[in-house]
Amino acid sequence: MHGIWGIYFRELLIFKSKFFKNLLASVISPLLFLFAFGFGIGKDTQIDGTNYIAFLLPGLLTMTSLNQAYGISSEINISRFYFKIFDEYLIAPIGRWQILLGESLYGVTKGFISAAIIIILAYILDVKFSISFLFVVILLLHLLIFSMLGFSAALIVRNHGDQFAINSFIITPMVFLSGTFYPIDMMPAIIKYVVHIFPLTYTTKLIRDAFLYNRLTSITYLLVSIFILFSLFLFGIFIVRRIE
């Protein structure tokens, strides 16, 4: 277990050294979306039986926390190709799976911090929400999924360029199409089906329901999410064991 702790500790030290830059990024981007969409479309617009701001906030929460959790991929990339710190992990007498868990734990930590910022925002905007056990578990599930996705992405690519391509061609469309900013029901029929390939579609719905109503509306979505996490975990281990 010392491998997990060593890697997590290292990431925290690096995180601390650029904490305010990071924090600012987690605040600015949701605020931007809030102004652009939220106040643009307006408080009075009703969507899915609630006002739009209330609908949007949990979407912003999934988006920002996803960006933070998945964002470990760029950091791993830099430490792997540029500073070569990743070699320190590979040469250490630890099981390779510990690298996956250490990094994922870090992604989860960053995700929780950015989620906390949105929660403060929700409080300020006077949106009704609940922070229940259910919400925490679902958020954890969401963050683990995207940390592990980020981890595997970072190990599959061969350079920064590949990483950039994955971000623009997969992550960005996913963030816009998974029901973060408006309900999937409002999309054209074909897209409605297509978006179900994105893990974010499932976790967004679960998070929104837990956050706004403290309820679990779809067991199927929960099971699909758990299945996705499990697959990504196995895939991550497979990849990290082959890496050189």
């Binding site: 010392h2 491998g3 702790w5 060593g6 890697i7 500790f9 290292r10 030290l13 690096i14 050294s17 650029k18 500073f83 070569k84 710190i85 070699d87 320190e88 992990y89 590979l90 040469i91 250490a92 007498p93 630890i94 099981g95 050189e244």
Partner: protein, 283 residues
């Protein structure tokens, strides 16, 4: 775990079509210093990466104490230290924290960590810089930090990939002294790759000369040199310098005096041999 011998059998590494390490075998005993020499791209780093588990061989086996490395990685890795070709330190955190992370990764327990870090700092003589950010260190000090880190868990085998590249003469000597000290005090087996032939001559008990993935010569520096002779005659022609090798000084002088250009006689160096055998291949 003590490592009394290392044996490498038919080791090969291919990157797609390129054979970086080509079917090499050798063995090493505890406490030896082995220098690996070879031109750029010879395969030295690739060899070291396989020996430390960073790369897996395309073919061949590495035995540590007669145990297959690929089957006992964790155990062997505990007693291996690596100073990589590039300084892979965390620049935005302190020297002390760089070492602390390493201590945790190597499972050094909470109570012993501080002592191990202090020892490593003082061994590499960087105590004064322990609270500095790693980025603020000069090139020589960064190298010493990497050495301190590699020594922190007291490895039985230390791999140094071009440890003195880009260092000034003082820092280089400093690092030579560390290497000697590490080897003497704890019978640590040391692998060192270098482009400075005199470094190999000075430090190594055994030299492996690599070229295009193969070992083209090996043996003690003395034995290798004696293949060519003991003295080198440098002949200064108008547009080039040529070299001739002799077993004794008299022969060299006689040969030189027959020429009608200036010449110089000196002791034969390992570099003479190196240039001779690697040059032949590059032609």
């Amino acid at each position: 775990m003590e490592i009394n011998n290392i044996e490498v059998k038919d080791l090969t590494k291919k990157y797609n079509d390129l054979v970086a390490v080509d079917d090499i075998s050798f063995s090493v005993r505890k406490g030896d210093i082995i220098a690996i020499l070879g031109p750029n791209g010879a395969g030295k780093t690739t060899l070291i990466k396989m020996l430390t588990g960073l790369l897996s061989p395309t073919k061949g086996i590495i035995f540590y104490n007669n145990v297959n490395f690929s089957k006992s990685q964790k155990k062997v890795k505990k007693v291996i230290g690596l100073v990589p070709q590039e300084n892979n330190i965390d620049r935005d955190i302190s020297v002390h924290n760089n070492l602390l992370i390493h201590a945790i990764l190597y499972g050094i327990n909470y109570k012993e960590r501080n002592k191990a870090i202090m020892e490593a700092l003082s061994f590499a003589e960087i105590d004064d810089y322990k609270s500095k950010l790693a980025n603020e260190l000069s090139g020589g000090l960064k190298r010493r930090l990497v050495i301190a880190r590699a020594m922190l868990h007291k490895p039985k085998i230390l791999f140094l990939d071009e440890p003195t590249v880009n260092l000034d003469p003082h820092s280089r000597r400093h690092i030579w002294n560390f290497i000697r000290k590490i080897n003497n005090e704890s019978q640590t087996t040391i692998f060192i790759t270098t482009h400075y032939i005199e470094e190999a001559d000075l430090l190594a008990k055994n030299v492996l000369i690599m070229d295009r993935g193969k070992i083209i010569a090996s043996g003690s520096p003395e034995k290798l040199k004696s293949r060519l002779g003991s003295f080198t005659l440098e002949i200064f022609k108008s547009d080039s310098i040529e070299y001739q090798f002799f077993h004794n000084r008299e022969e060299a002088i006689q040969f030189g005096e027959k020429l009608n250009c200036s010449f110089k006689i000196r002791e034969l160096s390992l570099e003479d041999l190196y240039i001779k055998i690697t040059g032949k291949r590059i032609e």
